[in-house]
Symmetry: C2
Subunit: 174 residues, 2 copies
Amino acid sequence: MEFQLDHAKEILGRTPATLNSLLEHLPQEWLLSNEGPDSWSPFDVVGHLIHAEETDWIPRARIILEYGEKRAFEPFDRFAMFEKSRGKAMGDLLAMFERRRGESLQELEEMNITPEMLEKQGRHPDLGVVTLIQLLSTWVVHDLSHVGQIVRVMAKQYGETVGAWEAYLPVLRR
Amino acid sequence: MEFQLDHAKEILGRTPATLNSLLEHLPQEWLLSNEGPDSWSPFDVVGHLIHAEETDWIPRARIILEYGEKRAFEPFDRFAMFEKSRGKAMGDLLAMFERRRGESLQELEEMNITPEMLEKQGRHPDLGVVTLIQLLSTWVVHDLSHVGQIVRVMAKQYGETVGAWEAYLPVLRR
């Protein structure tokens, strides 16, 4: 499918509601269980999404539009949320994500992105030359991917209690 | 994690809102795109969830409670939705799923399931002896699994437009 900015905004705008319906007021053990050592719980994932909102998507879009390929993005810290989320409640994180996402979409709106701007190039510190269209597409896929991670992590908590049905549930083996 | 009936109800009760926030009023091409031949679109998945609501979960729970192992469940038709959903709009299916799920949870409530009842055994036509606890656990995992499928199918629509970021997005290779 071709990238369409209005579609991207539409999908990005829905993620806070999706996370709220999945996680708000859910019993704590569902929020904090993960897939084993070095894996993330739903709580960790939401913290990660907040950190991406604060340091990744819009900041990188600005760098592309202001500096092009001349200035590489700051590397993204995939583990920052372990410190940043400490002591917070899930409800705090969900509200924070909703606020940050609203701000991001507002800033995106104010950038008045044209088709020409979408083709502008920037420089990823590891991946090399990328475009604004690729950054915005990645933002969408990243959201969907982490919603998928949350439901997979949750599904695995009942991986044993499904008994023989495990054979029909490939999600439990991912 | 051990199965808890109140947790299962809590998660099952959230799925209609999750699907609505992901899919309601989304542009048609996102609703109808799939992962290639013989794969399902988000539209197909919601139809499948409705069919499961009508013929799988509660009907099978009733068979377990009324007949135990003596009567095998009816086989579940994994493709019934292709016919049943024909000509319907996504909004119709989402509203139908929300209604059916509400009815299912109401019926589950009225079963007044005790810990002893959860251990009752039934017979799956292919998998053999199963328990009510396994059926209800599977219902939860099945919901989460299909939410995961929907977001994966959506993510793949931008699989090309993410460019080099594809390397960081394993969801695109599942």
